[in-house]
């Protein structure tokens, strides 16, 4: 959906989406970096499991909720990327049961 403009970008920073490396730029929001990386599906909705992606990019719509460095339901548009940041997609409603240790 998006590409970066040709204006010289900032320093490259690598982040991980579901374990896959994505090249971000220092200062990017997580949502911006993922959109620039060609990501269209950010999560699957809680009620029907339909794919969703950011709608507002300003903290209003809560469509970009993701698990970032182990913390669930963070707004990806309000979090600035850090090198090595681990982002995982959330799918449907979370389980209330404690996660099995693996």
């Amino acid at each position: 959906m998006f590409r970066r403009d040709p204006i010289p970008p900032g320093e490259a920073v690598e982040i991980l989406l579901d374990g896959q490396p994505i090249s971000a730029r220092r200062g990017d929001s997580v949502a911006g970096a993922l959109l620039a990386g060609g990501v269209t599906r950010f999560r699957d909705s809680v009620v029907s499991g339909a794919p969703r992606a950011p709608y507002c990019l300003m903290g209003t719509c809560f469509e970009c909720l993701m698990t970032i460095d182990g913390v669930a339901n963070r707004q990806a548009c309000l979090v600035t990327v850090e090198p090595g940041m681990r982002i995982t997609r959330q799918s449907g409603a979370p389980s209330l049961l404690p996660e099995a240790e693996t």
Binding site: F2, G32, Y55
Partner: protein, 487 residues
Amino acid sequence: MSAQLPDTAELVIIGAGPAGMAAAIEARAAGAEVMLLDETPAAGGQIWRAVGTAPEARKALLGKEYAAGAALVSDFAACGAHHASGVSVWGVMPDGTGPIHVGVSESGAAGMIETRAVILATGAQERPLPVPGWTLPGVMGAGAAQIALKSGGLLPEGRCVLAGVGPLLYLLADQLLRAGVTPAALVETPSPRRRAALPHLPDFLRTPAFLKGAGLIARVRRRIPVITGAEALEITGESRAEALRYRRAGSWHEIPADLVLLHAGVVPSLNLAVAAGVPTRWNAVLRCFEPETDAAGATDLPGLFIAGDGAGIGGAERALPSGRRAAQAALAQLGREVDPLAAAEAQRQWHRADRGRAFIDRWFAPPPSLLAPQGETIACRCEEVPASAIRDAARLGAPGPNQIKTYLRCGMGPCQGRMCAASVTEIMADESGRDPADLGHLRFRTPVRPLSLAELAQLPAGEAARRAALGDAALPETPLPLPDRSS
């Protein structure tokens, strides 16, 4: 709470857009101690998002008005206010004539700041445009695409269509053209009552906005197809947007699209003000609720002021004097001297910036039919509540939006009604024939942002923490009996 946030401040300003920065500069000039809290990484608000760090080439393509924001950002940085960025505010809790508590959260740690005066400068949000298919990936607000461009230099890739109504559609189209992106089309859905703007045209013609706007629209029309007079919109696609369909003169047309950018103007961000207890009024011209304030932005709650678009949509230029006036009112409340000349000057600036708004407000008004969807179109994105369910409940006699919330969970998801409150009121009004002014809107409550239990547990015990956890719900007189755990 974080080490860098003090727990008291003389004046707290929330939001680092034009109104918040102007208020901070004004209050600092009078010697007040100012803390400005903002959710984003840098000052500027959405209108001047990232203007302090944007490369010159990007500023050039975003235009003069954008680049001009850099001056205010640097004045603000030099004014001596404590600017806390990346901080979410989840509640403003006035306590009669006593101090106001401001609930904050930063990097997963919650806390409270005690202050004597608060200026809400939280601005506006894009008015949700609930058309069929608007939840698909590949559909966003036009404002969102502009934020992506300002903050990260992102440009639409593939076929991009802009749809809806509002000056932003033309501004964004022009910015994209300058960046080398040619949108496939701009589909405009004007209000059927657009002519109501015409009596206000002479006043608008005398403003600088007229020449700028007319030039902008002409440039866009020369370069991309502009389809005016669309009556309905829908987006089709399986797992992402594939096409925008629009109805014009009764028949449907389709434009293939990878990215559909919707817009229907902006509305005040109400959550913090309403949760604090500020009453709202319906603005029939702008079709939105606004917090009740006086001309300077003072609310009925002692020490609580609202400035800029959050008090009523007027644009960045009007937000600047609005911020100054709110700061002057807050300074008076704090017992500090306000220069009467500065007060008169801010008032003059406000009226100058307000000229032409009456035309713009009416010419770019959204068509009510687009705001009150039918059938399976999703109204509440979080809880996936279709318009038909809200209409059924309205027909069954639901007295107002808050009963709809109880019946259907509209507004109970993570966005807390930001994306559906307007639609719930519009749908109920359409279904019942009642006036939105009488129906009111979803009741927003503290905390206005989701807080984890861990964050709640960090708060110092007391009335403010109780309100954070329970909103304004009354506690029972006697403690609830605890279950017998002996057996």
